[in-house]
Symmetry: C2
Subunit: 329 residues, 2 copies
Amino acid sequence: MTEKIDTQGTWLTCRPDIKIQDCTIRDGGLINAHKFDDTFFKAVYDADIASGVSYMEIGYKCSKKIFAPDKFGKWKYCDENSIREIVGENNTPLKLCAMADTGRTDYHEDIQPKKDSVLDLIRVACYINQIPAALDIVKDCYDKGYEVTLQLMAISVVKEKELREALDIIAKSPVTAVFIVDSFGALYSEQVRYLINIYKDALSSSGKEIGIHAHNNQQLAYANTIEALILGASRLDATINGMGRGAGNCPLENLVSFLKNPNFKLRPILKCIQEHVIPLQNDMEWGAMIPYMLTAMLNMHPKDAIAMRSSTTRDDLVGFYDQLVQQEL
Amino acid sequence: MTEKIDTQGTWLTCRPDIKIQDCTIRDGGLINAHKFDDTFFKAVYDADIASGVSYMEIGYKCSKKIFAPDKFGKWKYCDENSIREIVGENNTPLKLCAMADTGRTDYHEDIQPKKDSVLDLIRVACYINQIPAALDIVKDCYDKGYEVTLQLMAISVVKEKELREALDIIAKSPVTAVFIVDSFGALYSEQVRYLINIYKDALSSSGKEIGIHAHNNQQLAYANTIEALILGASRLDATINGMGRGAGNCPLENLVSFLKNPNFKLRPILKCIQEHVIPLQNDMEWGAMIPYMLTAMLNMHPKDAIAMRSSTTRDDLVGFYDQLVQQEL
């Protein structure tokens, strides 16, 4: 069969509309309960500025009533003073953002008016069934003066009819961008093409941008990110060295190596990896591994694979495969 | 712009024309000078049979005059008795193949008539400038009774005009398939699409199949393999756990997880990885790493990155980047 694809440029094109979000501290924080020290935070911050990244996502605005502060590091909450202690007023071109996870945030209380905050953007994350609650957070944050984007998670299990309905509602909200969030790392490139077209149909007329947040369960995070990019996505999530829970994310260094925009620089990212990220690998594990491929293949959340990698049977690939196949029945 | 792509099925389609070549022993042999022990060879052989792989590539038919036998293991030469000691007459559905590398093989002497050989297929590898010499090997092997395919290496530096000329010549030869060989791991999916179309133009009328052999320098080996597959390639090279020189190859387990053909089985491959491949990682290194991404980004052979990973500066990413950038000038 013949499929028509609408592309926006090729790998040789420099697209000024491209904005990279570095999610290293936020997504990487899911590995270590957000307990990064200030030196590491500052190294990522400096690397992002030097490499031309547009936004740095520093963590969550999570409720201290739900997540006890003695169990998590400060980037679970992103209090204003925690941020300012490291970046001051952030008088740089790099914008800062934090994630408000629907159902887990006391946004009315914990998210300050923009004029009192060093954050620029609130990224509201939700599952399809949480859209109304998410839009309430969107409105609250927008009214407080922030840029707001929406991260629609677990996209690989959303039905097309419901996705179209959700996007039509979101199109009327004040978000500047809506993201395809492949939480399970389950998408193939042809499915990315299909989703981008649905997003374009729903969002183009309202001028909202399309973003992608890919996970590397099947070694496709980078491939799917550049596929989305070529087809018109302009908000691209990545993490340094692909750091992120489980299989991790689209590596920022790969993405920058692909982009031909001279505003993006690779060397500062490599320096940060060499000096700050590689040493963390002694205590933190991330990256594409077969257990994550198996959960993604079955379009499942990676939590079983994450648990398996923390268990005494962490190397028992066949046992884990058998368990998943039996579970499916 | 709008691009038209002709696809042959989707990720839900079972394509009976698909044939997988497992290149683990051949490509992995480039890491350890082809010194696999018989137990490992047999484990891969058994896994390939059990998982439904069509061809197992066991090594090279290299000249002992050029490559001294005291320096390499037996899979550099693939002597008949070496193979038979492990697989006997190979009375299985799995076909065996070896690579004849143009300019490095005494094919007249070292490749026996098919009736005396347990090999089924000779894969002739060449660079674009070696096409006439390669076609002499093709003819010799075809006349001896083998199936023959052609692996056109370093495709990312071949000019389109010359590629079209070469494919027109190859179309008249008795090969059954011609492969896109991304030796530098430099291709993006859109370039795979472009190359597949050129191959189709040149080869469809002669009924020759199209194959792909991808390397994982940019974490795109699997993505590019399934892109080629969707667009019509039917000969797919992969290796168990992605084992292969440098960044390695398209992982066989990923490829099988993608294919919905019930003839392919994942579990035997996982068992082989767990019991035989992972233990080798103590002595052999392969897989996507930043130095390989850097050479691929510059469309260079990975040899500098391979050398860097064997040197005392194996972790100096920034130094290696600087060296490559300076070299380029």
